[in-house]
């Protein structure tokens, strides 16, 4: 049992460890000295005493391996450092924004799955016909458009121009009571829709590739031999089997989603983790940037793990042999 869990979790722990190590190494190998990145300004202006005091405070006077261990131990205790910009713990700042990011990411993911996967299957099925070529070309075009630009155009046309949506997604402080949910939906509609365009395009290309890989499979030929209607062959056999690589591939999709979230939050001023990263880049608030990055990686890994756990439900070959 323990062994199986370890084997299962191993790759995820490894990715998390890699992200932590990158995060630890960056201030130490980037131009300048580590202290600059912790303080957010040039450490050269400090006097010698101030300097050694600050170094001691952050443990930077100790050998690097020791710093590394202390860093990892701190992360395990949930310490993400202190924001240079606000002076608040990074953990608090990130936690307060996670909800917004999830409110943006989850509906987008669901919509993109519902739109992209069936259309991708159709594109593979009709790949030599006009439908398939048109769908694939559209998806290529949609994934070729920068998400932030699409968001800006969306604001100009639908928010500023037609006035259908608010320009800024964040809730006014005066909103309270049950209206919040409705108001939230209205404010997040445009960001979700613009983000969905690109992610659905990506899903379409992914599931198209997966369904296409099943087209040469003998079970489709057997289904045809038994007179199963084409629509059912696509739905019950091709698409069902294509879900397997689509699921194993969830990591890349989630990565694309998170990348889109960062720019879309910035465009629509959604107070989530992505816009926190943007604000931190501008303010040279490195501890916050690193903290937000780590939380993002953890979220992607967590979601990926969920997909991995769901996998045996989709593939009986793994289900039974895993017991």
């Amino acid at each position: 049992m323990v062994r199986r869990v370890a084997v299962r979790l191993g790759p995820y722990v490894l990715v998390l460890w890699a992200a932590l190590t990158i995060s630890f190494a960056l201030p130490r190998i980037a131009p300048g000295e580590p202290l600059d990145y912790l303080l957010g300004y040039d450490a050269g202006v400090l006097s010698a005493e101030e300097r050694s005091a600050v170094l001691a405070q952050y443990g930077l006077d100790r050998p690097v391996p020791e710093q590394y261990v202390a860093y990892l131990a701190g992360i395990v205790r949930g310490e993400l450092g202190t924001s240079v910009r606000t002076g608040r713990p990074v953990r608090e700042m990130v936690a307060g924004r996670l909800g917004w990011t999830l409110a943006l990411a989850i509906p987008t993911l669901v919509l993109a799955l519902l739109i992209g996967v069936p259309l991708g299957a159709l594109a593979a099925w009709r790949r030599r016909r006009r439908t398939g070529v048109a769908l694939t070309a559209t998806a290529l075009l949609l994934t070729s458009v920068p998400a932030f630009w699409l968001g800006l155009i969306g604001i100009a046309v639908f928010a500023a121009g037609l006035g259908w949506f608010p320009v800024i997604a964040a809730l006014p402080l005066t909103t309270s009571g049950p209206v919040v949910v409705l108001e939230l939906a209205r404010r997040l509609a445009l960001p979700v829709l613009t983000l969905t365009v690109g992610i659905a395009g990506w899903m379409l290309l992914t599931s198209r590739a997966a369904v296409e890989a099943t087209l040469g499979e003998p079970y489709l030929q057997l289904a045809r031999a038994n007179g199963i209607p084409e629509r059912d062959i696509l739905r019950r056999h091709a698409l069902r089997n294509a879900l397997l690589p689509v699921t194993t591939n969830a990591g890349l999709t989630l990565g694309a989603l998170v990348g889109g979230v960062v720019v879309i939050e910035t465009v629509f001023s959604v107070p989530g983790i992505g816009s926190l990263m943007y604000a931190s880049v501008l303010a040279r608030d490195y501890p916050t940037l690193q903290g937000a990055f780590l939380v993002t990686v953890a979220a992607v890994i967590g979601a990926n793990l969920l997909a991995d756990l769901a996998y045996p439900r989709l593939d009986p070959r793994v289900r039974r042999s895993g017991r």
């Binding site: 290529l140 920068p146 087209l215 591939n249």
Partner: protein, 583 residues
Amino acid sequence: MTGQPDVVAMVLAPAPTLGRRTRGGGRLAAAGAATVIAMCLLALAGPVLVGGVLTDGAPFGSPSLAHPLGTDDLGRDMVGLLLVGGRTSLAIALVAATIATVAGGALGLTAGLLAGRADMVIARGLDIVLALPFLPLVLVVGAFLGPGPVGEALVIGLAWSAHTGRVIRSQTLEARSRPHVQAARAMGAPMAWLARRHLLPIVTPLLVPQFVRAAGAALIAEASLTFLGLGDPTIPSWGGTIAFGQARGALLSGAWTWWIVPPGLCIALVVTALAVTGFGLEERVQPRIAHWTDDGQGRSPTPATASMSESAASPASAATPLLAVTGLAIEYATDRGPVRAVRRADFSVGEGEVVGIVGDSGSGKSTLAMALVRLTSSAARTTAGSIRFADRDLRTLGADELRRLRGDRIGLVPQNAMQGLDPVIDVQAQVVEVIRAHRTIDARAAGERASAMLRRVGIDDARHHAYPHELSGGMRQRVVIAMALVNDPALLIADEPTTGLDVIVQHEIADLLAELREGTRMSMVIVSHDLPTVVRLADRILVMSDGAIVEAGSVNRVIGAPEHPATARLVRALPRLAPTGAG
């Protein structure tokens, strides 16, 4: 994890089918590449032609003759800004793509060539980088390197090299597994020689589409990073122009149509052109998937002169046979033009009769059997003849009407069908699906009917909800037979029903088919290169050789006194103890 193909590579470099065939792919690639090159030339030469970024207009100017795309907040001409900005954006994208291709190509090739432990370490490392979300990763690393085009290109290139490396690795491993490389290895060729002589020539061309892909991803990433504040604000770029436009309120003032739209369109145009180029290039370097379809000739009957005399002669036979094939000819389309698979086939199957079709491999017997229900591979075409089944011509029947016959009036056991059960659906559900494809019946009744059929083919109840991988080859073949017979077909066509099974199981399956036929009026067509099985089951035998039926007659007559050399050859190979007195 489950022996699937490398899905990461599959999705990053999907088997391309946009457009038609290789030539279409080439045209697409050419059109895409031409667009990209045109945009690059424009960015290189354009600023010289228009005299760089002119700052001679009024701030926030609308489009005019002097400034076709208006001016920005500093009165700079947007056309010049767009051209100069293109230089920055395209240069960063190309440099990043070069870094990604060189670094990723080196990693992927090293992993693929060394294999074993080194491959494991590199592949695991690439997987880790791939598991990190791309944009947040480059944003964080880029922030530490500081804003500016050099850092952007470096970070994007290195991060993307994981994608390139992953694809190149799996393509190198694929190249290694090709037969001629394996053969050279088996003969003791040193790896260095193999790499130079065989693998690099295969893999190097594959770097080109990867470079194109990387360039497209890098252009979008560069624009996003610049928009997020990692560009150098003093150097114009497409992403930077968009960011400035937003910061200066272009969205609300209406200036967005000439300030924000054009640079975004430029990015989208180049990225799309790159994507199309990549698709087209991959189309040329990757093998296409062969798959089986209805050949769709149902609605276009070609009047075949050869079959005219035949159809006039056929009513002479006593009772109308269940299946009557006249003058059937089938061709395969190949690179060297059409090849005749079946030259001319005439035969009939009476009600309740079992006809065996035997012949060497390549004699056309399987093609003939599958062509009866139009399930040949897409390369095969029926060029002449007719297939009458119970007063209908299967050759000209509409696709959906034919679909209704398959699995209902005509049961089919395709070749290697036991490998053809759907791996993720339990066997009873697969039988149920066949029932419900042809009958309106509720799920429960269908389940009972399916279970009854599974019992008849000798699968006990405990295994009815098993998945195919949990059953032996013989058991799976029984399931396939259950699927073919569950709707009580008038005709069963079985293509090599015993091939691929061990000898005892072959006998069991042959016995099962004989048993299932007893007490019914079902006709059968059994195609096999295994003469004993056919002898055991058939009333009549057709011998095929080189695409033609060379001999036909009762089992006793054909086995006892073969007339054609091909028949004689098959009979000589028959084991002495085989029962020759069947039928």
